[in-house]
Symmetry: C2
Subunit: 206 residues, 2 copies
């Protein structure tokens, strides 16, 4: 953890000039960029200041430690997530969600998430921010889609939290993290056609 | 990357005293231990020497850089993997494999693997060692189990590499990495009973 240079106020964001929310947004975007390019280990206050085009004192005035800064940036990942689609059918909703997931793992959201994964066991504050932020948002989005399908009568049993419910996203995440192969929308379509929809038919017929 | 202290020989493992294979094994085990406890960022030649109970010069004599050392240790992950089970039935084989996977993600193998994941995009040598080592071994183990099932007539189509084939391990890996919930053998049994076996029935009936 870097030593703190002298700051004006006793706590980040207090004292001195009022905070500029748009600058906060630029700094958060810079954190994600540095994370994606250099990883958690390469994330320094200096690198973030440089990527955001602000002075290091500006960073320290807002976040006292790297952990504070990253935890706040993790919340930013949540805002990069998709709202639950509402196409009128489970198949349509899942297709939108899975195509979004493919784009996410191949883009800055995926790169930043991957950069953080290994740090989670060693950084309790980061882990808590990640769980109560993006993981919770992603889980809630899938839950909403499943619950609407249940309300429409397309699925006859609750699916969120079950092994069957997990098969929509899990093959995509496994392919992303544990294979050298590209994660494509075609693969997402294969998951939907060959895994999720057949399993729902089986369960509904049971 | 740390600076290299002067070493006797020009290259690791050459010159000086002959290498002691059992000591190499102790060092590799120490690397995995340090990785699991401190993460990739916390992995230093010093920490490995201390965990292995050897002098730092011993480490530098064998591995010139942290990358060399980690790449070699990754190969060690492969040796912690399971041989393809051969119980005589696909269900039996998959149950053994999935229970092994549950134990793996909850143990040192999982902790070391998780510690490396985030570094893979930034470390080409490490990525290559990980892909051609443990990932390849794990993939081959599942492939063997699927191919034996095909040979016995239990599955009518090749499953390795398909979305359906990926559903055996993917829910377990997703739960491990992206939920706060424990990964248990009961969950593995749910994956087998509710996902994999029904999907195989559907495909065989098609």
């Amino acid at each position: 953890m870097p030593n703190l240079p002298p700051v004006d106020g006793a706590r980040p964001g207090r004292g001195g000039r009022p905070r500029d929310p748009s600058r906060d947004g630029a700094i958060r975007a810079a954190i994600l960029q540095v994370l994606a390019e250099s990883g958690y280990a390469g994330l320094t206050m200096d690198a973030v200041a440089s990527a955001a085009g602000v002075g290091k004192a500006t960073i320290y005035r807002r976040w006292r430690t790297k952990s504070d800064l990253v935890a706040d940036a993790v919340a930013e990942l949540s805002s990069m997530s998709i709202d639950a689609p509402d196409t009128g059918s489970l198949e349509g909703d899942l297709r939108v969600l899975l195509h979004w997931l493919v784009g996410a793992v191949n883009g800055p959201l995926g790169a930043a998430t991957l950069s953080l994964l290994s740090a989670l066991p060693h950084e309790p504050g980061l882990r808590e921010a990640f769980r109560s932020g993006p993981m919770d948002v992603w889980g809630a989005t899938f839950r909403t889609v499943w619950e609407r399908a249940e309300a429409r009568g397309e699925v006859h049993q609750p699916m969120a939290g079950t092994a069957v419910g997990s098969t929509a996203s899990a093959p995509i995440l496994q392919r992303w993290l544990f294979s050298g192969e590209p994660v494509s929308e075609e693969f997402a379509d294969e998951v939907l056609a060959d895994v999720v929809l057949p399993l729902i038919s089986v369960r509904n017929a049971a």
